[in-house]
Symmetry: C2
Subunit: 224 residues, 2 copies
């Protein structure tokens, strides 16, 4: 078995067992990978032999802990590459998905982590799904940061602060950055309006931010 084939099967099995909330069926895997069912049966037996999957003939396939770890590793590669292709190189998202699924098998862990760092350890893939954390991601630091930072929604009128972390989808982030709300930007809360909506100033202009969004923007408070 080549690495690439193992990876492609495990990735598919992870996807299908999640979708099914149960074992992946031979025919499903065959269709997903565009292979004949006998080819899948053959490979399934090998993956079983190597301890990647649990397999009961005629009943389907689930991942073992070993297989699951491996599958999630591939998924992370795929998502980081896809994010890179879309966010950095500005490729078409659909094209990027297919391209990432090719490249994911040849990129090394070292390169992937550099890429992850280059993008600032992104948390959401352009396809909308969350990206798993990797060795390189500052989980500890982030958690520590979260303790020091407070949601923008908690700032009082007149209080100033610096935006530190924005945990929102790409689309919303894009919208925010177009009105000047990006990490390390100084802001001040001008007024608190109804329903938790805030009126804040950033880069000299005044903008309104809804409650849901304000609660996902972590800031370092500088007091009033």
């Amino acid at each position: 078995m080549t690495n690439e084939r193992i990876e492609e099967y495990l990735e598919t099995i992870l996807y299908l067992t999640n979708k099914n909330k149960g074992p992946a069926k031979t025919n499903q895997i065959a269709e997903e990978l565009k292979l004949s069912p006998p080819s899948v049966t053959e490979m399934i037996r090998k993956l079983f032999g190597s301890g990647y999957i649990k397999y009961t003939p005629y009943h389907g396939v689930t991942l073992t802990p070993k297989g699951c770890t491996e599958a999630m590793r591939i998924k992370r590669r795929h998502q980081l590459l896809e994010t890179f292709l879309v966010d950095v190189l500005d490729l078409d998202p659909k094209f990027a998905h297919a391209e990432a699924c090719e490249m994911e098998h040849s990129i090394s862990e070292t390169t992937l982590e550099k890429m992850c760092a280059y993008m600032g350890h992104p948390e959401i893939c352009p396809d909308g799904n969350p990206i798993g954390h990797g060795e390189c991601c500052p989980t500890e630091a982030l958690n520590a940061s979260y303790r020091d930072y407070i949601p923008l929604s908690e700032l009082k009128e007149g209080e100033q602060g610096t935006i530190k972390i924005i945990s929102l989808t790409r689309e919303i982030k894009d919208r925010l950055s177009s009105i000047g709300l990006i990490p390390d930007q100084e802001i001040q809360v001008k007024r608190k309006l109804g329903q938790g909506t805030l009126s804040i100033t950033a880069m000299g202009t005044e903008v309104a931010v809804g409650k849901n969004i304000a609660s996902k923007i972590m800031v370092q408070s500088h007091g009033a």
Copy 2:
């Protein structure tokens, strides 16, 4: 024949015929690719059958125009990836070479061109070799520019200008940028010293530039 195998053989044959200034030998190819000589003989026959190479038994292999075009396409992929890994992701150059040689087979032309553009159409690979021009590279614009620009070495004393294109190795470019000589930087020639050496000011400080280097820095003159 899979694409990847064709690519790897052609890349090696291009490298060896250049190095030999003559045909690539079976054993050389085998050693380069870490394969047995019979495996190479077998593949050579297939590549010959597909018109990629000229092959005379017992005498060696050269590329046909078709094979040469293909080989240079792969080489460009390899070099752009290597440049990206080193210059953008900051990987170890030696590691980057090996990694690029893996990734070069799975990256698409579309992605490669986006990557080329992202880096500003680099002209020299970290390994020191020039990178071939691609579809995406602004050859026309560059040629047009060259007509408008003159070498820094041609400026007269007191004349001012803007640096536009620096056609030098990475090392020299790095050295120049550390003293403020980068594209779009305004400079002025203070004095012309002996041997074609110039004393110029950039960002308020005065630096000396030798003749060889000054002749590779194209500037847009603003007169005295």
